[in-house]
């Protein structure tokens, strides 16, 4: 019966709800971003978002609003992850110094690169790529 006490008293319920909302809002507005903990610097995130938003220039925006917002976030995410992953390769360690620029470039061209990579992967998986057969695919 203890769990119904809070709901039965409207004043207590409202106060608890207000306190809950207040603490949530206060925590949400001052939290340290988990992206920092993961290892995403703010400069890289800025350039990735700017690149994916600027990439709309080269691609006519024929999609709906929600699709565009989702694609912008997705391309920024892909560019950020790709930049961090590439800079972790020892040969490409020099990218660490120019991570934001690389992220911006990748995000700008992500609208072209992602569908192209997808088509290429589909061809590779179905055995019609240029690397495992003499015919088909690009030279």
């Amino acid at each position: 019966m203890n769990e119904t006490v809070l709901v039965r008293d409207p004043l207590v319920f409202l106060l608890a709800l207000a306190a809950c909302c207040w603490s949530t809002v206060a925590a949400a507005a001052t939290w340290n971003s988990p992206l920092v903990f993961i290892g995403v610097p703010p400069a890289l995130a800025f350039m990735a978002i700017a690149g994916s938003a600027g990439g709309l220039i080269v691609q006519p925006p024929v999609v709906t609003r929600r699709t565009m917002i989702a694609l912008t976030v997705a391309f920024a995410f892909i560019a950020t992850c790709a930049t961090i992953a590439i800079s972790a390769i020892p040969t490409f360690a020099f990218i660490k110094d120019v991570e934001p620029a690389v992220g911006g470039i990748l995000a700008f061209f992500a609208q072209t690169l992602v569908p192209a990579a997808r088509a290429r992967l589909t061809r590779e998986v179905s055995g019609q790529g240029a690397t495992d057969q003499a015919s088909g695919g690009s030279p």
Partner: protein, 106 residues
């Protein structure tokens, strides 16, 4: 509370800037030096607004502002939202295309 207001202003500026960017790109280009310069200046400003605002949304610890600066941001973000067609959330989430009335077929 100031923190939340500043964060919310950044969110409003980010999504409004992204929506305005899509509309600016769909707009017919005026073929003159002034028109082209205006177009690219608008695109650059909207990209900067969107990127910086969305970075502040996902990195709230980067926001360091005094109360007056937060007031300035809120005023600018609300002014920007007021430039959009009236139901702001519909402009951001659906665009200018209103749902057409269903045609009744008897």
């Amino acid at each position: 509370m100031t923190n939340f207001i500043g964060w919310f202003a950044a969110l409003v500026a980010g999504v409004t800037g992204l929506a305005m960017l899509q509309d600016a790109l769909a707009m017919p280009l005026i073929r003159s030096v002034r028109g082209v310069a205006q177009h690219w200046a608008r695109l650059a400003a909207l990209i900067m607004i969107t990127a910086s605002a969305l970075v502040l949304v996902v990195f709230p610890s980067e926001r360091t502002a005094t109360g007056y600066e937060v007031m300035l941001r809120v005023a600018l973000a609300s002014f920007m939202a007021m430039q959009s067609p009236c139901p702001w959330w519909r402009y951001v989430l659906q665009g200018l295309h209103r749902p057409k009335a269903r045609k009744v077929v008897l």
